[in-house]
Amino acid sequence: MPKVYIDGTSIEVENGTTILEACEKIGVEIPTLCYLKHLNPAGSCRLCLVEVKGSRLLQTACTTPCAEGMEVTTMNQNIYNARKLVLELLLANHDDGCFSCPNNGKCDFARYCMDYDIEKSPFPRNKEFPPVDESGEFFTYDASKCILCRRCVRTCAELQCNNTYTLKGRGHETMVGLPFNQLFKTSNCVSCGNCVSVCPTGALSTKSGKKYRDWEIKKTQTTCPYCGVGCQIELHTKGNKVVGVEPLDGPANNNLLCVKGKFAYEFINHKDRLTKPMMRKGGKGSPLEEVSWDEAMSHIAEKMLAIKAESGPDSLAGFASARVTNEANYIFMKMMRAAVGTNNVDHCARLCHASTVAGLATTLGSGAMTNSISEVVDSDVILVSGSNTTETHPVIGAKMRQALLRGAKLIVAEPREIDLAKQAEIFLQIRPGTNVAFFNGMMNVVIEEDLLDKEYVENRTEGFEELKTLISEYTPEKVAEICNINAEDLRKAARLYAKAEKASIFYSMGVTQHSTGTAGVMCTSNLALLCGKIGKYGCGVNPLRGQNNVQGACDVGCLPGDYTAYQKVVNPDARAKFEKAWGVSLPDKPGLTITETIGAIESGDIRCLYVMGENPMLSDPDINHVEHALKKCEFLVVQDIFLTETAELADVVLPAGSYAETDGTFTNTERRVQLVCKAIEPVGDSREDWDIINELMDRLGYKNNFSSSSDILDELAGTSPSYGGYSFERLKKEQPQWPCPNKDHPGTPVLHIGKFSRGERAIFKPSPYIPAAELPDEEYPFVLTTGRVLYQYHTRTMTGKSEGLTNIMGTSFIEINPTDAGKLGIANSDKVKVASRRGEVTVEAHVTDKVAEGILFMPFHYKDGPANKLTNNVIDPIAKIPEYKVCAARLEKF
């Protein structure tokens, strides 16, 4: 703990603290340009020069560590002159068209020039610049405004780890650019925009930013509405319009964002937003017409009450939403249970991670990420399976790459050669649907080579002997055959994982969306337990949740068998607790899942379906079947922000406010509860989700006492042990991870330390490999697997409104191996007809060796060429999750 003197003030600091950090602590401001928190210091701009007693040179505060007794002077005439000269030298070649610069009003460089009394540089311009690169969809680079601080280059290299930028030329000719004089459009740029966010001048600026100035906008801190990472963002609004997004230093994202979070906000104020309630006044078959809220609400209440009276509460069902707030989901779930009286409430977690919730709850006692996102950077070995992390959870993908920069090793077990595979120490290109065999093979090597953590297995687990017996069948050679991989690679991967001190497993829907999804999930925890890697920092089993609040929607009880915090409806104590809290008696049988609901509509058991913020018409498997059911549904209510494919079939459509128009909380994939704050008023006549449901409950005869989302969170906290410590007031200051049982509890970054959620011991659940339900045959010779792409999200209700994203990746496609394509006479970009036993679609072929021979891949986002016309709706018997990842298909040139 060296003690230093800064301008005479003494301060004791941690070892390694820089002068700049010490100055920050005591409120002494030092100007900086190249310095940026989270980046390695560069010490290149030389603006933060200070005097250190005894040194002939001026020292850069950003790089110089404090040493015992150091005497630092942060301002005198010498320092002032030197800093001023730095600025003057930079200004000489800086385009001074500030009037038209999008950075006008927030430019660090301009502010410093003002601070140091510089109006113009005393030096003539002596550099020429290339034309502005406007080839990217979202931002431009103007070298004449660049001051060579390199924040962009370093952010792209050290944090995003994409290495799009380079420094061209040497000395005075040095310039930021792209390698080989490429433009953004032809480069490997992923448009994350993190370079734009860190640019201190207007050199890198958003295309949309030209239309507003910093002083005109209001800034609202909130949580990103896309994937489950839970990035903290600042929404910039002008009037009632969202005009920009900036990253914040949230615990999950540390100032990073992806292309969707940064740029895909056009949907908020899009002209297609639903702004008025609509009804088919003439009954089924008649057009949707705008009506008043009162008319729509009384019609809904009337119909719901009538159906309930005629056929009982279980003839109604509701789909909650992984996109809306915890508060909206809680009140929705409460409506179905307390006001309607049914447990028929589910949401699309059924379709992505139901197997995680079921699997990990069984083996460990808690179906969520065991560890925190930030820990991945400190992992020694990272095993990724069934997740295209850099595309689906881009910020976590970037953090994995940060870990690789620090020397971590990566194992990727995936059917496709995803970007991460290129950086993997070991890449195992497994056949779709063979995850269980793969994990069993890993465990076989671990046991065979005696790499297991015996003490851990002995003291903290049960069921090892049973596991050992089953695993013994899965020799590397046998598994290599099943997965179509090399046995030696499997051995290497197992050794690498088992021997690492800190090894983490990350998986996503490639593991969960199978008819054996729950078994696949339990295999991940089997492996981790076997190697003693649960309940430790930098380790764990980490399911990456796909949507912004899919974790929260599960947590708050939008599951047919669970109240909040996974309290079971079949548990009489839990039921009694909620009956008391809500003042009604509650049904004691679990309700229907999404997949079962669709079937129950077909059979006539369900007459009314209320859908809040979901689009099963694109997201569910075998959508021909879904469409048939929804059309048949007697009374379909859809509450959404757009007229989705599902809303088009509805009898009543209610316009909801988007995430930018509501207050509440989202729970991210690492169990962190974070605030969502209203930045603009709900557009048109739309209303906040919770507010709509609150009124409807009143009309259904159940009176809540909520006047804000905050009131709802308070009730939720009161009935849910793991959420007990949350309130809006607290979440403004800190965002702890659940379990957080009371207001003094700091939250739980790592689960299962010392003791598992399920009890003293975790349990091994050995699972045999069972092939996918539908395998290729002569008629349908290919395996079709599905997934997501970086530039789209879910069914494109939001990303589809972004012109830039549409330009980058606006149409569906199918990936096919060059050898297969050659045999079928298919060239890249050809239109092809793809068929399965359930339907057929026509899409563009992408001929690529990303997929192996015999394998096809399609993204599921698109309405034109919807993959889910082809997918198989066979479900996992435990979690009821459909097998999106494997079906048999054939294709031919269109």
């Binding site: 290149s44 030389r46 040179l57 730095v86 070649n93 040497r170 000395g171 005075h172």
Partner: protein, 418 residues
């Protein structure tokens, strides 16, 4: 005057590739002694008073002690053979004529601090040294002096050559390491110093060729022997490179403290054509340009510094009366504009501005405030640049202004008209 050939003793006398020849001439004795008592080496180096010969003159024993005292799974020895300073040729002579003395010095360093891997970072313009060095490495490996299990000691020390690509900045120790790591050749900020965190973040000793070539004989003959040569503060000999307007240009070895006048007159043979000496630049392209009247100067680090000059790597460029000093300064700054890496603002932008002002003096358009501004920028660069390049590049022009004020003529009547 007779040279004192300690470093150059084998040059031209042995087959440079042959370790047997080198051994016959007394070589690899130091390494044997070092292996017999590795613990003692750093202390011997400290006692010897050897200072770095690359230009900065840092005490070698102290530098090695940092690396020795930093525990690590891997340490490195780097030989800085990027002899990029214009007017310096000494390392080339050593590597072409007696490479084993360099390997021996590196191996001793490795044994001393527990490093098992050495790199020679070879100047791009010395491609013809590559086969000599590679053959000599093979020979030394075959004879068991380097490589695995050297001299049966169970110690390893491998040497690998990495070629530069022609950047002057890669003579800077940290830029050199960036280059070996495959990155853009740019200096790092210090601390951390390479001794603690160098190549790939591991403790690294980096020394100049001449420095390392001194090591074997110090270990063999002892610190006291070494201290008996040269001056109190700078023991040993020094290789001096004489260039410019001089009759006998070349590399010569003399004890530290030899008088510059001796080097000019007796060794160099004065200026060609009987011209009068006007100025001398010492210490390479970024060294000070001093007045010929200051010729009576003992050449060691302290004496040079006292006189406002630099010993540097021992280069002396003689400038006779027919040369315009402004042209010299212009040429030197052009070199630095070309060789600045572009990382820090003062060096990247400052050198081009220095050149613009020098052009004004050349054109005769300079004004009083141009001179003030030139001195201001130069002084600013000296204290604010990231590395030695930017800190030293203004030295020639600033020293020329100080030592030859009448050559920097300004139109004083036009001051302030703009």
């Amino acid at each position: 005057m007779e040279e004192t050939r300690i470093l150059l003793k084998n040059i031209g006398k042995i087959n440079p590739v042959s370790s047997a020849d080198y051994v016959a001439a007394g070589g690899y004795k130091g390494l044997k002694k070092a292996i017999s008592n590795p613990e003692a080496i750093v202390d011997i180096m400290k006692d010897s008073g050897l200072r770095g010969r690359g230009g900065a003159g840092f005490p070698v024993g102290l530098k090695w002690s940092f690396t020795k005292g930093t525990p690590s799974d891997q340490k490195y020895i780097i030989c800085n053979a990027d002899e990029g300073e214009p007017g310096t040729n000494k390392d080339r002579i050593l590597m072409s004529g007696d490479p084993h003395s360099l390997f021996e010095g590196m191996a001793i360093a490795g044994v001393a601090v527990g490093a098992t891997k050495g790199f020679i970072y070879l100047r791009a313009e010395y491609p013809y040294l590559l086969p000599i060095l590679n053959d000599a490495i093979k020979d030394a490996e075959a004879a068991g002096f380097i490589g695995k299990n050297i001299l049966g000691s169970n110690l390893d020390f491998e040497i690998e050559i990495r070629s530069g690509a022609g950047a002057y900045i890669c003579g800077d120790e940290t830029a050199l390491m960036e280059s070996i790591e495959g990155k853009r050749g740019e200096p790092r900020y210090k601390p951390p110093f390479p001794g603690v965190s160098g190549l790939w973040g591991k403790p690294t000793i980096i020394n100049n060729v001449e420095t390392l070539c001194n090591v074997p004989q110090i270990i063999d003959k002892g610190a006291e022997w070494f201290r008996s040569i040269g001056t109190e503060s700078c023991p040993g000999t020094k290789l001096f490179t004489l260039s410019g307007n001089i009759n006998n240009p070349g590399v010569y070895e003399f004890p530290m403290g030899v008088n510059m006048r001796t080097l000019f007159k007796e060794v160099g043979g004065g200026c060609p054509g009987g011209k009068k000496l006007f100025a001398v630049q010492t210490g390479g392209a970024s060294g000070a340009i001093i007045n010929a009247e200051m010729l009576d100067m003992p050449m060691d680090i302290e004496c040079c510094a006292k006189a406002g000059a630099v010993l540097g790597a021992g280069d002396l460029m003689f400038i006779d009366e027919s040369i315009n000093i402004i042209d010299v300064v212009e040429n030197l700054i052009e070199f630095f504009v070309e060789e600045s890496c572009g990382k820090c603002t003062p060096c990247r932008e400052g050198n081009t501005r220095l050149l613009e002002f020098v052009h004004k003096f050349k054109d005769g358009t300079a004004r009083e405030d141009d001179l003030e501004r030139l001195i201001e920028i130069g002084s600013f660069m000296q204290v604010s640049s990231l590395c030695g390049l930017g800190q030293a590049s203004p030295v020639p022009v600033l020293s020329a202004i100080k030592n030859f004020p009448d050559k920097f003529i300004v139109k004083s009547d036009e001051r302030g008209q703009n």
